[in-house]
């Protein structure tokens, strides 16, 4: 039950840079104009970030993950329910991995 001084330094350093970056985004947004290009840019960030988050996982996924992604999308479009979509994706990937063994 101890932490070496070196480990402590590394952990505190990690914590400081992390909070500094997270806070900077909020503080810098305050300096951006609320109209025109900057405002349009901020509006487009959520969709673009989410697309960037999921695209590589699907593009490099196994066939099991491709089928599960399709199932997730179809269930969400049909039900508009996030939890149902997530659950069917997880269930689909479980079944497909069992079946394909990959």
């Amino acid at each position: 039950m101890f932490a070496s001084p070196e480990a402590l330094t590394a952990i505190i350093g990690m914590a400081l840079v992390t909070i500094a970056i997270k806070a900077s985004g909020l503080l810098l947004a305050d300096r951006l104009p609320t109209q025109g290009f900057a405002a349009a840019w901020l509006r487009h960030i959520p969709g673009a970030v989410l697309a960037a988050l999921v695209a590589p996982a699907i593009a490099t996924g196994s066939p099991a993950e491709l089928v599960a992604a399709l199932a997730t999308g179809l269930v969400f479009i049909a039900t508009r329910n996030l939890f149902a979509a997530m659950a069917s994706g997880v269930f689909a990937v479980y079944l497909m991995r069992l079946w394909l063994g990959a």
Partner: protein, 242 residues
Amino acid sequence: MTQAANPFDSRRDQFLAGARACLPVAISVAAYGLVWGVLARGAGLTLTEAVLMSGLVFAGSAQFVALDLWTATPATLPIGPIVISALIVNLRYLLLTATLRPLYPKKGLWRSALSMYLVTDENWAMTVAAMQRGGGSVAFLMGGGVLAWISWMSTNLIGYGLGSAIDDPARWGLDFAFTATFLALLLGMWKGRSDLVPWLVAALAAILTSRLLDGSWHILVGGLAGSLVGAALETRKHVRQS
């Protein structure tokens, strides 16, 4: 204080609503949390070090990268590279927290900046989705953040305690919860054909970047490319119309 809209009640409701919204993703946080706990023990972190890192840093991807660089002997610990890679891996948060600005009052932003500590990919995504439906609030964001923090910390501890005795979460498909939820959130953000090009640009840029570079660069590069293209298309359209 007899008004129906008691600010404390609505704040509590928002906090609970945020936590509830994050339940689906808390499952994937928990699955990754278990894995991180197991790996942290394997990498030679003491229990105290693992608890401190999860509690203070609270950023999954940066913590996984740190485990790659960690050494069990303190004298050889590469402190500089560990801190710098945390900085690089977390750069994407600049984009995420910038979009949360509308939740906060005009003045006194510096005091609010500390609450960004509780922002993760998961509660950020749920909150911007709620904002697009006209909802979302700081309390909503914090509700999801606290739930994510609890599920991250508790599963880190379980993983550390049980070591490799635990089952691989991938066997149960739990690793896919993250992709599935974010995919559904993305589809929920569809507002029309003007989203198609920015999303495709973001996706392609992210796929290319993930092939070339490890870590979380693909989120930053894809997010920047897609949102800039979206903004360029939108402002060009306005110029033409006026």
